[in-house]
Amino acid sequence: MSEEKTRLVIVASRGTADGLYPALILATTAVAQGKEAAVYFTFGGMKLLTKQMAETIKPSVDLGVSKEQLEQLLAKGGMPSLLDMLKMAKQSGVKVYACSPTMNLFGLKKEDLVDVVDDIIGASTFLEIASDPKTLALFI
């Protein structure tokens, strides 16, 4: 991490549209504000990094709209799909971390993942990243 920059790190743990959009929105906005940003995808959040599942992500029951309804609403507001949003985040400089224990749990290999992952890390590495005094860590 560079000397002067502050950093935002987010744990994206939910595999729902309403769990993942906020993580990506905050991370890309942090980069726009001149911060470094990273998202650590774990458990349900790993769906977005998994080729076979990324397109199937639905909103949670809590949100109260169907996948199709949500897609229509998001399109109206100019919001890209989750996968496109992930690629844009990556392009803007957001670091993308995949959770090693989750991959182990579901038998995922590196080649099963969308081609945006900077690194596959575990809890210890994440905590080291999150422990920096110039870092703000959020769990979504």
């Binding site: 929105i25 890309t28 906005t29 726009a32 504000q33 001149g34 911060k35 109206k76 507001g77 100019g78 919001m79 803007s92």
Partner: protein, 82 residues
């Protein structure tokens, strides 16, 4: 000082957070220091969000005008400072 003339316009009317900030940042990176970008937005959060972005990045919002109703259109003039 004369009212600054924008060299670029970012039209994010109809787009929601985070586009006003992301598109503004892209535009500001394309202009030179001292030049001004015009941003048109309808997202009601665009004003606080762009103000926060300007504070964080050290750029300057020269003016904010609100016109119309349903939706209100916000017009920002933003100077690239660094």
């Amino acid at each position: 000082m004369e009212m600054a003339k924008p060299v670029l316009t970012v039209d994010v009317r109809g787009a929601m957070c985070p586009w006003p900030v992301l598109k503004t940042r892209e535009a500001v990176q394309r202009i030179n220091v001292g030049e001004v970008v015009e941003v048109l937005a309808t997202d009601p959060a665009s004003k606080p969000d762009l103000e926060a972005w300007a504070r964080k990045t050290g750029n300057r919002i020269l003016s904010v005008e609100e016109t119309g109703t349903d939706p209100v259109v916000y017009r920002f003039l933003i100077e690239r400072v660094k």
